[in-house]
């Protein structure tokens, strides 16, 4: 009588198939400057709902990449407050170095900004994948390559060819796909993409956006997309958090936010957007310039100097960022503005 094969123990992917939630609470990341230590991210709370795509929209210097790197506990700044809780992992900011190494890759996959240029130009892609496996103590390197091939084929690429290619032999769109493979090949269930389509033309961008949507759905990921491009966020994200000067100034479901932005910054940004539809004459440039670490107002509302609705209170009190993100719920919205009534729990 044939014996039943023993139950296969899956490698450490605790919640395989079940998307993980990420909760950022009261996160502050500061950088040392000539003017002392200044926060690039200030008391930010944000939920990445499991299985959803969250968009983080912000201009250069808004702190969006600093926030995203903090999810990996890899920010070059100093975390001065807050926590980043991931289901099945705990607080990433409290993990020891060894645990952190496992979490990066096995739990969180990160596609870096300009990942088109972040491959090693001297090694073919396949060799770099093996390096990645070895540095993470992966014993089944053959399995790892198999997973990489499957991912590449899913993205419509000839996997044997891509693995044998050097960086310069791949187009921008192909490199971006390779970046996604590197992020997911260790079976991460949280995927972070920082400006996934910069430097791509419209056609490659549309293809990469479709791939992100497909990979997200097929692998039950919890995804964070960071971009300055409202179009990219509008195409991908279920919810959007708008970041300005290190704060989340507004958060809402994507359709609701684009149709009815409430924060004066979001409103001004959307009406300054060159668009393919509608009357170009109705667009209004946004006055002033986005602040950097040094020029962010130290007291009051960070947007007040460019704000058409600024009132005396805006100079003295920073508007409450509508409490913890969790209080908003999946369909809820929050706005951090003295001039916008309601929405605060």
């Amino acid at each position: 009588m044939a014996r039943l094969a023993p139950a296969v123990t899956l490698p450490a992917t605790p919640n395989a198939g079940v998307p993980a939630a990420v909760r950022v609470r009261d996160l502050t990341v500061a950088f040392a400057t000539a003017d002392g230590e200044l926060p690039a991210v200030s008391h930010v709370s944000l939920d990445l709902p499991p299985g959803r795509i969250t968009g983080l929209l912000g201009e250069s210097g808004s702190g969006k990449s600093t926030l995203a790197l903090a999810l990996l506990n890899a920010t070059p700044g100093r975390v001065t407050s807050g926590s980043v809780e991931i289901d099945g992992v705990g607080d990433v900011l409290a993990l020891p170095a060894a645990g952190l190494r496992r979490v990066r890759g096995a739990e969180i996959g990160y596609v870096f900004q300009a990942s088109q240029n972040s491959l090693n130009p001297l090694k073919p892609v396949g060799k770099q994948l093996l390096d990645l496996g070895r540095s993470h103590g992966e014993r089944d390197l053959r399995g790892l390559l198999g997973r990489a091939r499957a991912l590449l084929e899913d993205m419509g690429l000839d996997s044997a060819r891509v693995l044998a290619c050097y960086q310069h032999e791949l187009s921008g769109g192909m490199r971006q796909r390779v970046g996604i493979v590197f992020a997911l090949v260790l079976n991460a269930h949280v995927l972070i993409l920082d400006e996934p389509t910069t430097a791509l033309d419209m056609l490659s961008q549309a293809a990469v956006l479709q791939i992100i949507r497909d990979v997200h759905a097929a692998r039950h990921l919890t995804t964070l997309v960071i971009s300055h491009d409202v179009g990219v966020i509008g195409e991908l994200a279920d919810r959007v958090a708008v970041m300005y000067a290190g704060r989340i100034v507004e958060e809402a479901p994507t359709g609701a936010l684009l149709a009815g932005p409430r924060h004066p910054y979001t409103r001004a940004l959307l009406s300054a957007l060159p668009r393919i539809a509608g009357d170009p004459e109705l667009a209004r440039p946004l006055p002033g310039r986005p602040p950097d670490l040094i020029t962010i107002p130290r007291a009051g509302c960070v947007f007040r100097e460019r704000c058409p609705l600024a009132m005396p209170v805006c100079a003295s009190a920073e508007p409450a960022s509508a409490g913890p993100a969790a209080a908003t719920g999946p369909g809820g919205r929050r706005v951090a503005c003295h001039a916008v009534p309601g929405e605060r729990p």
């Binding site: 201009e59 187009s171 056609l203 961008q205 293809a207 179009g231 684009l258 393919i276 667009a283 986005p290």
Partner: protein
């Protein structure tokens, strides 16, 4: 006015023992840049649009066809003789972060070309100072603020304004803007586009706008013209509104359908065609160049290469055997 007739540029193929097939960056392109005009070229990476801009600025030679500047054909002129013509065409680079010398103040960045200009015109230092302030004000910068500063102390939008002011020091007739807003913060892009539009009116300059972001081409003011270029060939050309409002070439339709839709305020066009596969620069199809990727290709597209014309009585010129208007552009919701 600038005219290009059958402009050709071919690069030798690289690598391989026997050499590879040459890259045909421009395959006989005709266009006109009218005075005070706004002419936009759109297409994906590798379509030849950057080569075209470089040829216009004299940074690249052409090896066929003719470039006529102010009535003068350039092909028979030597490089030295061409210089005064090319000086009338100034390039605004994509990257305002690397286009300015980081060790020079804005005062010096604008002062150097103005000093040359002053010598040509017999003007004194007072003229340089006045002109410097004038140009900065023209591009929307406060001279008192900008002059003593180094490029890194300015935002991307301000730097791009300095780049434009520097281009204006030689009183050009044409500004060639190659992806001039793609590296600028979203909230500042409209300001730069408005500036280019205003310069057309105030200084009588024309703008040659090279971009992959079709939407920005709509913001250069009235009377704009759009050329859609694919593998070095113009496949559709007409008034910007006409082409965006009713594209007839499948390639234009794929480009327009790829524009992200702003959910909540826009809806995708009823049709959203996408090209079949990626651009293969090595393949040289005998018929229509776009046929291998065209979602609407018919059998004879594989053997016949259509020329630019008004086949089917279209308002715009196009190079397609079966032109058909398709609603591919996102439309305002509701």
């Amino acid at each position: 006015m600038i005219e290009a007739r059958g402009l050709v540029r071919t690069f030798p193929g690289r690598g391989g023992l026997l050499g590879r097939d040459p890259v045909r960056a421009l395959r006989g392109v005709d266009f006109t840049i009218p005075d005070r005009g706004a002419v936009s070229f759109i297409g994906e990476s590798g379509c030849g649009k950057t080569t075209l801009g470089r040829i216009l600025c004299g940074l690249e030679d052409f090896d066929g066809g003719e470039l006529i500047i102010d009535g003068r054909p350039l092909s028979r002129l030597r490089a030295r003789q061409r210089e005064p013509y090319f000086r009338r065409i100034q390039m605004i680079h994509q990257d305002p972060y690397s286009a300015l010398n980081p060790t020079h103040t804005i005062e010096r960045i604008l002062g150097a070309p103005l000093a040359l200009r002053a010598r040509q015109r017999g003007e004194n230092d007072g003229w340089i100072r006045r002109r410097r302030a004038e140009l900065l004000e023209l591009v929307g910068l406060d001279p008192g603020y900008a002059l003593p500063r180094y490029p890194h102390m300015l935002s991307g939008g301000m730097r791009q304004r300095v780049v434009i002011a520097r281009a204006l020091t030689v009183d050009p007739e044409v500004l060639v803007a190659d992806e001039a807003v793609s590296m600028i913060d979203v909230s500042l892009r409209l300001g730069i586009l408005r500036l280019l539009r205003d310069l057309r009116e105030r200084l009588d300059v024309s703008v040659l706008f090279i971009t992959h972001d079709v939407a920005t081409a709509r913001y250069l003011g009235p009377g704009g013209e759009l050329y859609v270029i694919y593998r070095g060939q113009v496949v559709e050309h007409g008034r910007t509104d006409t082409v965006i409002g009713g594209p007839v070439h499948p390639y234009t339709q794929c480009l327009l359908a790829a524009i992200p839709v702003l959910r909540g305020i826009e809806e995708p066009g009823p049709q959203r065609p996408a090209p079949l596969g990626a651009l293969d620069e090595r393949a040289e199809p005998p018929g229509c160049l776009f046929e291998p990727r065209c979602p609407f290709a018919a059998p004879d597209c594989r053997s016949k290469r259509p020329a630019l014309g008004h086949l089917g009585g279209t308002a715009q010129e196009h190079a397609c055997l079966y032109p058909e208007r398709r609603a591919v552009v996102p439309v305002p919701a509701g």
